[in-house]
Symmetry: C2
Subunit: 405 residues, 2 copies
Amino acid sequence: MAKNEVPTVAPVKNFKVPGFKASGISCGIKKTGRKDLALILSDTPAECAAVFTANKVKAAPVLIDIIRVKKGVTRGVIVNSGNANACTGTNGLLAAKRMTSAVEKSLGLKTGEILVSSTGVIGVPLPVEKVEKAIPELLKNLDNNGLHSATEAIMTTDAYPKKAVARARINGKTVTIAGMAKGAGMICPNMATLLSYFMTDANIKSPALNKALKTAIDASFNSIIVDNDASTNDTAMIFANGACNGAEIKANTPEFAAFSRILNDVSLKLAHMIVRDGEGATRFIEIDLTGAASLQEAKRGARTVAESQLVKTAFFGGDPNWGRILAALGRAGIKIKEEKVSISFNGVPVVKNGLDTGNEDRAAKALKTHDVKVKIELNIGKHSTRLWTTDLSYEYVKINSAYRT
Amino acid sequence: MAKNEVPTVAPVKNFKVPGFKASGISCGIKKTGRKDLALILSDTPAECAAVFTANKVKAAPVLIDIIRVKKGVTRGVIVNSGNANACTGTNGLLAAKRMTSAVEKSLGLKTGEILVSSTGVIGVPLPVEKVEKAIPELLKNLDNNGLHSATEAIMTTDAYPKKAVARARINGKTVTIAGMAKGAGMICPNMATLLSYFMTDANIKSPALNKALKTAIDASFNSIIVDNDASTNDTAMIFANGACNGAEIKANTPEFAAFSRILNDVSLKLAHMIVRDGEGATRFIEIDLTGAASLQEAKRGARTVAESQLVKTAFFGGDPNWGRILAALGRAGIKIKEEKVSISFNGVPVVKNGLDTGNEDRAAKALKTHDVKVKIELNIGKHSTRLWTTDLSYEYVKINSAYRT
């Protein structure tokens, strides 16, 4: 697959969820005139849950959402792209609140019923009056098919909109989960802000929703590495409005498992699209690590390999350089016995019991693909993990060294 | 300064130490025919101390040295370049021992009196017979002025040999410390193996020597970041043969402080040379972080900034992108209050109390230099640190993605 083509996931048909409307318009924050303002709105109050950036430097909208989402109920979220409203101090907090109250007032909602996200350049005051002026048009465009426009409006340097939808029969009703995401664009935003929103018509309360979301995010957005930086704005939210009219899905039931499964599926699809669209990415690399002493050690080991500049540049060059992987594992701070480690690239064993297998030529040939599977067997414990990353290319350096103008 | 020119440190005159001989020759490991075998030899048994890689995957010579150095006395070290003798299993250990015993036998020394290092490609058997055949020539070339040749022989892709020397009057005698290092070459070795050797004629015992070495390495080689990878072979050694005939330098005395000062000086000079010679480096970046809650947090914060791909690419592009620095600090896992952080680039304040100063144009102009000073004030505690790193350039990607042939 060529770089930044839309990946070969199933085409998104019926990208809509009963009881949700959305819109995406241009309000003039982006100089290009592209869409930069989105609204996702539930017809009725929706149960909600969210996961935010672990970065201690949090953007203004994140600080506001953290408080509002505690109520567990919301009507929706307004999102702008082109400006992150991060590192903007007290004025940034006021601007974020003005974004939400503009929507709340127009719709006759109470203060706090709308959430807010921003993505884009850091440290520049948000031109909130542009948002306020555009509210009538934003509301006018609300539509059951509006998730497509909304997905476009949250993009920054994403090469394509990222959306996925899945349905399942649960409690005798068809439950839909639609998800949208943006990320991996780093020219205008200062890092790869990840925003994702999940809309479902399931009947599920906030605590269970929270549990399902955390599990899904951990295995998807928290298992991908484009660069090693966590943004000030990273946000994942889920809204459940119960419009499917099914019985309540309670935690730790088979119904919950079914719900969780489709949420994981949607979330993982979006996360993979973000990796494939990674700045300058020419490879989609899966790191599959098994046999670690603990789950935490499995994750730390895989992450250290995935984050290594030397590993990433080797993959860019198609070099089956297993020494760099072994060395990354060695400095990961995990239990490792060199003489027990085995490594393969796309099925070709390159290290067996810590030693070269002599398969370098075969491995080099096997690496002439866009998608690369790295299998690492530590063979000292029972814990495993998988994560996904990109290579490190000239293009990455070009994009990220470009002066922001 | 243009890339990879010899940096403007004081020219190395009198790069020799009383009572030490050295030589550097070609034994045929490097296909280019360049020097690849070095010997440093003290005329008499020398007190010694060493610091080795923290990587759990350790090369064969490191495993041998760790045991031998415990005796605290050695006659010297044999070093080959062109092959790291790492990830080579039991045969690798045998090969490393054969290197040392070849020297020991020829000189009538006991087993274990010579140490050994290797640097170069990982996972390939060391052609130890080439080393053995070259021993007569290696010994024939031993000379009081041989440190120059030895420094050349430990190079891999280093653009220039790295050497420094300092002298001080201690206990009424002139004490010399000479240091050599190699590093930052990553084409042939799989990562930036750092080797450094310090020779001194001071009268100082192994435990005190060990203390001085650890302090010096911590503030120099452990405070530089070229990539984020720690090699399987990293080694720093110091040999003290007492040839200055001074009184013993004991730990925690003014004489020890004087000794430590010149060792730190030599070590820091070598470390800076390694950063300046970093693969593809177009900038020499100093991160000066103050006001952290603890020394450990200061180091972790500075390191997270220095290791960020987004920070490094921004510096390559001359972009005064303080948002990336603030975000890196935010995810460093240290105490930070956004509203207290100040940042300057080459003296131009870009962030004050967490907010943009509006000095972007001035900062961009100030960044048009090879040497960049980044000052970060956290303003929450009393601890500070300094470290040095490079930018991340096209050339870095080119060099490190090149297939090893």
